[in-house]
Amino acid sequence: MIALESVSKRFGSKTIVHDLTFNVERGEIVGFLGPNGAGKTTTMRIIAGFTTASSGRVTVAGYDMATHNEQAARKIGYLPEHPPLYDTLEVTQYLRFVARAKGVPRSQFGSELDRVATACRLETVLEREIYKLSKGYRQRLGLAQALLGKPEVLLLDEPTAGLDPGQIQETREVIRSFGEQHAVLLSTHILPEVTLICRRVAIIHRGRLLAIDSPSGLQRASEQTNRVTLTATAPAEALRAELLPIAGVIAVAINDVPGDARVLNVECQTDAREGVEAAIARAVARRWDLHRLERQQPTLENVFLRYVSQAPSEAGAQ
């Protein structure tokens, strides 16, 4: 439904988006993950047709955004980073304007407004002026606007920003239910959100796509180096000499436990081979007291940080 082919965006001499290529299919929710300023919003704007790409091709629902953005716009529901609301209007007036502009037939206005108001829990504020709404309601009204007209493609730029935990939960449910029949691209910097609702994750940093895969796929890919942490009562140098020769151990870091001079915290970098932690446990327990040993699964957070920290730094980028 959404296809980007080596899309770049330059503002003057600064390149904000480098050569992005990825697809979002119908029935999947793709999370767009990256630190602030990574180029998420710019990419969203290019797909939505607010700005055009400097080079490359964007197609939405089969329409090329460069030549047929009018037809594509009918298929897109877009929630920008800042909900685009007319403060002086009432909620219903605003939704009617968007429905009319999207070409929703007049006879369906009532049912469409009811549908999005229910999905976004706006029933109680329909007659209220928009400037009187709280931040959570504004965000949900922005989402409601995007859902009007049953678009096939949903672009949501940080849809849960500014919501309280309960509202976040509800909004995720709305997005998840939409993702079953639509193509959803959702940008966020909240990691758990991605694991909860996205089928695939695209990690973007400094305008470059670093990885795109399912959350578990990303975790597997980064398991080439694992971490094993253990706590033991042992002399530091002897312990290091014992651990380093074990096949699979790459590096060992030893830290004192505050308040107890004889107990050490040890962090071993290992490769992905089977049985490394068992070999470490045997080696330590043979000579000293082993209190705890744990193999650390990489969380998505670690995966993300690893990708971001390994990214080639851009010459001249800020």
Binding site: F50, E70, I76, D87, A101, K102
Partner: protein, 235 residues
């Protein structure tokens, strides 16, 4: 056309849900009422000629207050992102907004009709001259609003939009008076042709000249076309 209608209705709602429309209408009607009674008592004749001249100048200063928010407010309210990504062509946005502003202009015009009551009650005015004057007034207003709307698209700041529009409109108004300083015939006719004031003067005299009608329509069309192309280019 649906898109034009959607934008048009949104604009009208916005005008009347904020104080701008009421304020502009009040200022304009107050000013016109003052000029009307002043002219009536000064000349003692049942005619709108002088009042139309004053209304023309008043319109130049008041119309930017109507047009300044058309695009600037969309930029500063961050709603331009919605407007651009909705299935609306640039010309639909431009036309919808323009028609919204013209509706305010028509309301302003309708409000001045009250001046005609004493005119017809106590005098014997020339109806054709008055009709011509009103047609000229609306055409002049359309040109002013189209120019103001274009400048509004160039800046995020409504005040800046108005501050650019007023001097531009005033120059178009007074440019005709430069004729007296030009020796060259071509330059004189060019200055005369560009003048809002000279074209408007025809209507005030009771003349509906097709050249003057076309002039104001062309000015509006050029400004609106520039406006739509600018929106297209901005993407």
């Amino acid at each position: 056309m649906n898109g034009v209608l959607a934008v048009y209705r949104k604009e009208l709602l916005t005008y009347f849900r904020s104080p701008i429309a009421y304020f502009v209408l009040a200022v304009f009607l107050l000013g016109t009422g003052y000029f009307f009674s002043y002219n009536m008592f000064m000349s003692g004749s049942a005619s709108m000629t002088e009042t139309f001249r004053n209304m023309g100048i008043l319109l130049l200063t008041v119309s930017p207050l109507v047009s300044m928010r058309l695009f600037s407010a969309e930029y500063s309210g961050r709603t331009m992102e919605l407007l651009t990504t909705l299935p609306l062509e640039p010309w639909e946005i431009v036309l919808g907004k323009f028609l919204g502003a013209v509706t305010i202009l028509l309301l302003m015009t309708a409000g001045t009709l009250i001046d005609l009551v004493p005119l017809y009650l106590f005098g014997n005015p020339q109806t054709t001259t008055i009709v011509a004057g009103y047609i000229g007034f609306v055409l002049l207003g359309m040109a002013c609003l189209a120019v103001g709307q274009f400048f509004s698209a160039l800046t995020h700041n409504q005040i800046v939009a108005a501050l650019i529009t007023v001097p531009v409109l005033l120059s178009f108004w007074f440019i005709g008076y430069l004729q007296n300083f030009q020796a060259s015939y071509a330059l004189r006719s060019l200055l005369g042709y560009l003048s809002f004031a000279l074209h408007f003067a025809d209507f005030v005299q009771g003349l509906i000249r097709s050249e003057a009608v076309i002039f104001f329509l062309i000015v509006s069309a050029i400004a609106l076309t520039l406006n739509a192309s600018y929106l297209q280019w901005r993407r």
